[in-house]
């Protein structure tokens, strides 16, 4: 049995969604959320926090300018200390073939946008405990 999920990293370029998702996870789900607005920012934050508490899970947007979600994932996996951090994608692209392209080792699940904010934290917890 894994330790319960307590802190997550949220990578999302849209400030409004970042705010809403952050609130949903923190206030409804009681999680510690660190939010970043881009892949490079998230990588920097991870590097910085490496010796302190690394996030247990990363919630990752797919479509982001500059570095997309999958590109961020490649960068992340290239660093040995982050190889094991599981990822959950959040995407507004919901076509089956698009979802199929996102599924890869280390990606626990895909959450479709728009999500129900009151159930987002539960959903993430369920994915976490299911892995």
């Amino acid at each position: 049995m894994r330790p319960p999920l307590q802190n997550v990293l949220l990578v999302e370029d849209d400030a409004d969604i970042r705010t809403v998702a952050g609130m949903a996870l923190e206030m409804v789900g009681g999680l510690a959320v660190r939010a970043c607005d881009s892949g490079p920012a998230a990588l920097a934050a991870l590097d910085e926090a490496a010796h302190e508490q690394a996030p247990q899970l990363i919630l990752l947007d797919v479509m982001m300018p500059g570095m997309s979600g999958p590109e961020f994932l490649r960068e992340l996996r290239a660093r040995p200390q982050f190889v094991d951090i599981p990822v959950v994608f959040m995407t507004a692209k919901v076509q089956p073939e698009e979802l199929q392209a996102l599924r890869q080792p280390g990606v626990l699940d895909i959450i479709a946008k728009p999500f129900d904010p009151m159930r987002l934290a539960d959903e993430v917890q369920a994915i976490w405990s299911r892995q």
Binding site: V20, V28, A92, P114, F115
Partner: protein
């Protein structure tokens, strides 16, 4: 594609048909005319060749008859002088030849001078008879009477007639040769120019067809490009719509959930309205995407063997909440205990939920929606029956078309996109089934779909493979 091009495409199509019909029709008519004319001419040539052959044979017969007659006469004179039986035999042979030649005369085409021919025939016969009679008298040792053996006058007249016949034959032959030469010339001319003209027409038709083909390919390329752009546009727009909807839906959800503090009754009601409509927008975006996929034939299906009874039960459970908001009861009339079909679970569930929610929407409060699962032939039918107002007959043909709803007022009241049924039909047809409607006895609607069942495990395997 700009409208000018599409209208020119129509003009091209009609122009093309008329042109091709005209060219090929004309070519065909020319070929038929040339064919008939050549047949008639060649037939006439053959006939005149035959006539000419007969005329030549007749003339040869006449010459032979005359020649043989002279020989017979000289052999007879020799016999009359010598009385030698050998001379008699020679004479008889020559006489037989003369008769044969006289016989061949029958083929002489003497249509224009039958009397001459008949006279000549009689003269030759008389001539031969006299010569014969003289020879016979000599054989018996008697001298022929003076006038009886005199054939000079007969010969003179016969030669005159023969000359006339020959001249007539030659004239006829000359005329007929001139006729046939002229007819052959005209025929050759007709065949040559007719065929050339028909070939030119065919060439023209080929040019027209090729040009049409090229234009059509160009138009089709354009249309395909437009289709691709439309798909891309719809996918992009649906994604772009979802992003702001996510924050709106999220904010409203958090507000309604009391995360930002308790709401007054009215605020809660308003937030509820905003949330419902937000959900509706999301559904609309999903429906437009689905509809586009179905229209482009690009909706992927993840086929698996599943129990339709079980899936129907799940759809009922999922629709229960929605039904209760409309004050409607969902009733399952489970006639077939289980029915295994090969289908995409999520998509088929989408169809069932859509039919159920339609039935709930249109049912009167306190009514019930009856779901029935039954075996029909080699398949299974799921029908969803309500006691709503039903579908007016004049609307039924458009029932499964995109964006068709009874009227705009109705659309607002019932909160649909007008895409649901067209998507359902698209999905069921992609699964090889059929989705239909029939009015319910005693009022209301029945929507049903039929799918082929899968029974044998072996069949299951092959289905999965082809899937």
């Amino acid at each position: 594609v700009d409208p000018r091009r599409s209208s020119s495409f129509l003009a091209l199509r009609f122009g093309f048909r008329a042109k091709i019909d005209f060219i090929l029709g004309l070519g065909l008519a020319i070929l038929v005319a040339v064919g008939l004319y050549s047949y008639r001419s060649i037939d006439a040539l053959v006939q005149s060749g035959r006539d000419e052959g007969a005329a030549l044979a007749g003339q040869a017969g006449l010459e032979q008859a005359l020649g043989a007659l002279r020989q017979a006469e000289s052999a007879q004179r020799k016999y009359l002088l010598s009385g030698n039986p050998d001379d008699l035999a020679a004479y008889r042979q020559a006489a037989a030849e003369a008769r044969a030649g006289r016989h061949a005369l029958r083929d002489f085409p003497a249509d224009d001078q039958p009397q001459v021919f008949a006279q000549l025939g009689q003269l030759l016969d008389t001539w031969l008879d006299r010569v014969d009679a003289a020879a016979e008298l000599r054989r018996q040792g008697r001298a022929p009477a003076k006038g009886q053996s005199d054939t000079a006058e007969l010969e003179r007249r016969a030669l005159q007639l023969a000359d006339a016949l020959r001249a007539g034959g030659r004239r006829a032959l000359r005329n007929s040769r001139a006729d046939t030469a002229y007819a052959a010339g005209v025929t050759a001319y007709f065949v040559l120019w007719g065929t050339a003209f028909a070939c030119a027409l065919l060439l023209w038709a080929m040019v027209v067809i090729h040009r049409y083909q090229a234009r059509r390919e160009e138009v089709e390329r354009g249309l395909r490009e437009v289709d691709r752009l439309k798909s891309e546009f719809i996918t992009t727009v649906s994604h772009e719509l979802r992003t702001p909807l996510t924050s709106v839906r999220g904010s409203l959800g958090l507000l309604a959930g009391g995360v930002a503090g308790p709401l007054s009754g009215r605020a809660g009601q308003l937030i509820g309205i905003a949330m419902d409509n937000c959900e509706r927008l999301v559904r609309l975006v999903n429906d437009i995407l689905d509809s586009e996929k179905i229209l482009a034939g690009k909706m992927p299906m993840k086929l698996e063997i599943l129990d339709l009874a079980e899936l129907t039960a799940r759809a009922l459970r999922e629709s229960e909440g929605y039904a209760s908001t409309h004050g409607v009861k969902l009733v399952m009339q489970d006639e077939a205990r289980s029915a295994r079909v090969s289908a995409d679970r999520d998509r088929l569930l989408q169809v069932l939920v859509n039919l159920l929610s339609n039935a709930c929407k249109y049912s009167p409060r306190g009514g019930s929606v009856e779901v029935r699962l039954e075996r029909v032939g080699p398949g299974v039918r799921v029908s969803v029956a309500d006691r709503g107002p039903g579908v007016p007959p004049e609307f039924q043909p458009r029932l499964f078309q995109r964006f068709s709803q009874l009227d705009s007022v109705d659309s607002r009241r019932k909160g649909g996109s007008g895409l649901g049924l067209s998507i359902c039909r698209g999905i069921v047809e992609r699964l090889g089934g059929h989705l239909g409607y029939r009015p319910r006895e005693g009022g209301g609607s029945v929507f049903f779909f039929e799918l082929a069942t899968v029974s044998q495990p072996a069949e299951v395997e092959t289905m999965e493979k082809t899937a």
